[in-house]
Point group: C2
Chain length 276, copies 2
């Protein structure tokens, strides 16, 4: 029994913290991608977590194991996506753990109940605020109200399973950004404005346009990111920054992206987390 | 631009009618299936709806077209599933229409907003109460509170994309069943009990077990249906009646089903309605 979870890239967001981690989260919009994570769980003498074959601390997944496992387990997660660059790798691992432990120990949790544990793990570790709820749903997900899956309010913008290109230069620490109050004020102002405008006409094109505006307004973009976006635009594609990574995603314009690094290509995942 | 919508078979349900069609619906549980419907829309001199190549009244789809089309359109829906036998064909056509018109006229509707129009079309035509919200989500969907997509409350039971077998002897009129108060009382009592028990341990196995109990208690099953279920059970599979059709679905036991008619095989669809 394996669990599959899509990656998730956020185009724009605003953090919404609450004392109750189930009510903590973010508003914003992002894409679930077919570049996924698979997780399997088996009984073991002691609890161990392997990421791509290497024994790992994996604190976010560990939080989920501590919450749900009834006895020691060996967790094996294979991540197809880059780490630490805004693809929701920590959320994918934690969400995969939650589904896998639910199946393994026959806990009888609904999808939203299992996913809520992964959401709380992300909030507690300050590794993410909105990836899990979107990864649980799949597609182009708008986060209308913050919170854990089932508590937060989301909707989807209908979208074809289009190809998505990406280039990653390096990671950005989500924890550092989320902890810097000055930076967060800029982000939240720009993220709330973007969501307000998206509600007027929720389409994929408007998502890309508003993500790009957020990229500039939030002050999070490196010159490298801004140059890459401009190059894709000049080639007739649409691009924006992956939140939070020193990374860019595009629809079309793969050729223009090539001068900025190794271009990966995946596609939009219309399905969310589930047993594989 | 095409839209794809899964079929949906209900295992058990209870009708929950309300004066407001957006709040009308059903509680219960069912499976989205890969056996789908594709819908395309193009501009036309007069509005026409074709189902599998034949000009059709298609009142449920027509309701959606009248609500959303800005000018006359030709709608072409291809249905892979049997008609009138509990696969949610009318809901699939209507939901496909809603997504297709949203894309064609750039209406800027969220998925739930488009799907709500299809839900209301089903309620108004008495052709269904819970298919659309489940088809919009995909997977093994539990309908916890009635209502249109976004208003009604659903969750998913994690499930692998398993093979599902089915045999159809003939249709049952959803409109007739929903209009018979005596029959509906039996159904609602059995359906509410089934949901209450499913909440104690929501798993695929319990869904099948409770669907089978509902099949007997609701009084909807023909002897043919009960015999087919028994044959699958004897062969080590799990089976229940498709609500509402003179039809049976099974996990495993395809061989045992063969003596009851032509066996179709599809699989659980983990994705819901979306652009294709």
């Amino acid at each position: 029994m394996k669990v599959w979870v899509p990656s998730h890239i956020t185009g724009f967001f605003a953090a919404k913290r609450h004392q109750d981690p189930l009510k903590s989260g973010s508003i914003g919009c992002g894409l679930a991608l077919a570049l996924g994570a698979t997780t399997a769980v088996e009984d073991s003498d002691e609890t161990e977590i392997f990421l791509n074959g290497e024994l790992s601390e994996a604190p976010v997944s560990r939080y989920v194991v501590d919450a749900l496992a009834r006895s020691p387990v060996c967790v094996k997660t294979h991540l197809d996506m880059p780490f630490g660059s805004g693809f929701g790798a920590s959320g994918a691992g934690a969400l995969g753990c939650a589904y896998a432990l639910n199946a393994h120990f026959e806990l009888g949790l609904f999808a939203n109940q299992a996913a809520s544990v992964a959401h709380v793990a992300e909030v507690a570790n300050r590794t993410g605020l909105g990836d899990v709820i979107a990864q649980n749903a799949g597609g182009l997900v708008v986060r209308l109200e913050p919170g854990a899956p089932g508590l937060g309010c989301i909707d989807r913008i209908p979208v074809q399973p289009l190809d998505v290109n990406y280039v990653v230069r390096g990671p950005i620490s989500t924890r550092e950004v989320l902890s810097d109050q000055g930076v967060m004020e800029e982000i939240n102002r720009a993220g709330e404005a973007a969501l307000k405008d998206l509600l007027k006409r929720p389409t994929l094109q408007d998502f890309m346009r508003l993500s790009q505006r957020f990229t500039v307004q939030s002050g999070l973009a490196s010159d490298w990111v801004l140059d890459a976006i401009e190059a894709v635009e000049a080639a007739g594609g649409m691009a924006s920054m992956i939140m939070l990574g020193d990374a860019v995603f595009s629809l079309g314009g793969a050729k223009a992206l090539k001068e900025f690094g190794e271009v990966g290509t995946t596609n939009i995942s219309q399905r969310g987390a589930n047993l594989d």
